[in-house]
């Protein structure tokens, strides 16, 4: 099963591994900003799959969706951080448990 010649499945295995590392990060860590970072990790894993399929199927749609995933991920990181800073100012700590008493 294990060929050393790099093919499409190698990229998919790597992106799956990165995706799982991202999920673990969200589940395990308590610091909000590290959770945001592991979400960025998951989005990057998705980007690798997009580009790998776009390269092996010779069609540009994969790379365009990578463009949009990057834009949305950057926007999400910006807002996530703004909320984390607002919580830090109020509770002097950015542990995930402070987020339970957000209104609404």
């Amino acid at each position: 099963m294990l060929e050393l010649e790099v093919g499409l499945s190698h990229y998919l295995v790597l992106s799956a591994a990165l995706f799982i590392v991202g999920i673990m990060g969200v589940l395990i860590r308590k610091n909000t900003i590290v959770i945001l970072m592991s979400i960025e990790l998951m989005l990057n894993a998705v980007n690798i799959t997009f580009v790998a399929f776009s390269r092996f199927l010779n069609n540009m749609d994969g790379q365009i969706s990578v463009f949009f995933v990057m834009a949305v991920a950057a926007a999400e990181a910006a807002i996530g951080l703004a909320i984390a800073v607002a919580v830090f100012k109020r509770f002097h700590g950015i542990n995930i448990r402070f987020f339970e008493n957000l209104k609404g």
Binding site: A71, A74, A75, A78, L81, A82, V85, K89
Partner: protein, 123 residues
């Protein structure tokens, strides 16, 4: 692809080895002075530093970082646009201008809003 990626890696290793090696060399060759407590204190230009625990650093910087990300995305979307615009101006000039005009109009409005609301002020 390879004759671009391999040189970048070689050069990265060469720079790290060169700069790191020289810094390591000075660690070996440099003077060995006795470790005096005062010398190792962080440089507070004379006044003994009051370790006041967590420092009060104005949080203004993260708003600059956020607006930088958003306008950087705008610049990044402009790069492919210039390629398409420069090449087929006759065929697609009009619709391209309108679509990018709308996109940049929104972000220029964002900049004006941030300016008016005082997001760009520095205390």
């Amino acid at each position: 692809m390879l004759d671009q990626l391999v040189p970048v890696m070689i050069l990265f290793v060469v720079t790290v080895v060169f700069a790191g090696g020289l810094i390591f060399l000075t660690a070996i060759v440099g003077q060995k002075a006795k470790k005096s407590e005062v010398k190792l204190m962080p440089y507070e230009c004379g006044l003994p530093g009051q370790e006041s625990g967590s420092t009060k650093i104005p949080v203004k910087f993260y708003l600059t970082a956020i607006s930088f990300i958003l306008f950087d995305l705008e610049v990044v979307f402009l790069y492919p646009w210039t390629l398409v615009f420069a090449e087929n101006v006759q065929a697609l000039g009009g619709p391209l201008l309108i679509s990018m005009g709308f996109f940049m109009g929104i972000l220029i409005y964002g900049l004006i809003y941030e300016w008016r609301v005082g997001g760009l002020e520095w205390d």
